[in-house]
Subunit: 152 residues, 2 copies
DNA sequence: GCGAATCATCGTCATATCCCGATGATAACG
DNA sequence: CGTTATCATCGGGATATGACGATGATTCGC
């Protein structure tokens, strides 16, 4: 991963090894893998405010520069960030606004599991669809509205 | 992971090591990690039709039984499946209907990246929200409806 | 022109991960 | 009761991963 991102490359061979998997699962595997590291989640959060240089991210994360470069390479390979060299600096920015829906959906899954998790920065949080169940059963406070909504 | 799921346990220590991460990120990391393996995605797909025994999954996946047990332990630790021992068999079932929204959202991200990926079984696919952009700009066929919708 | 800054890459290390076969506890079957 | 089936767990192997420091190419600032 840190060198060459071989594990995140779409790998039809590994996909064909396990029955029931699909070649296209590799892209999904790479996407989920890119999100399965705390440093990379933190990078995404930092980039949500706008593009940043590697040295900025390095300072904020408190990791070695080479490590940050590796994480950015992983995110880049998964298509979540883009790199814009500018002189001796390289600016990285997020590329997929759809990512916020994904993070919000993960919040929902974890919320249902009892983990109050906030992955989406507030200004990127997609609107939750209106609950289909009429209000009446207060199960848990809604993360977005902080009020009690019917859940199910 | 295969023994003890130490890597998927919420680990506040690792979370505190990288600046900008949150302790609660561990649950998200574990969730994304649980989805970042082709065999586990296949298991989720198999279980989408209803609960199954380990031996059934083992047969369908073509993996060693111990491997399948390990994957199920991972999914279980992430809260995505539940185990119901019944005699000498153990039935596994999915626990989070919210998971379909997450997989659909991942499809969207990958779709935007140019990878036509189907993670959601058809009978579990959540309804896509109506596009906010009026029809007019045909960019890419909609996975669900197969017709051309405005994208942006 | 020189020193400093930046960053992708490499090598190394400790640990994790997925794979397998083996094993033992438990339950089912004849 | 003896045999078979099932499954969680363990040990080992091959590989991957995230961490670090070092390095060299490129750019910037004086």
């Amino acid at each position: 991963m840190i060198r060459g991102e071989s594990a995140t490359e779409p790998d039809a061979l590994a996909g064909a090894r396990v029955e029931g998997t699909r070649d296209t699962d590799s892209a999904a595997v790479a996407l989920f893998h890119s999100l399965s590291d705390p440093a990379r989640l933190a990078i995404i959060r930092l980039l949500s405010d706008g593009e940043r240089r590697v040295v900025d991210l390095t300072g904020e994360l408190g990791l070695a520069q080479s490590t940050v470069s590796g994480h950015l390479a992983c995110l880049r390979s998964a298509g979540l960030v883009d790199a814009h060299p500018h002189g001796r600096s390289t600016y990285y920015a997020l590329t997929r606004p759809e990512l916020w829906e994904l993070l919000a959906a993960a919040e929902t899954v974890l919320d249902a599991a009892g983990s109050a998790v906030t992955l989406c920065p507030e200004h990127h949080r997609p609107q939750r669809p209106e609950p289909l169940v009429p209000c009446g059963v207060a199960v848990r406070g809604c993360l977005l509205h902080g009020a009690h909504h019917g859940r199910h």
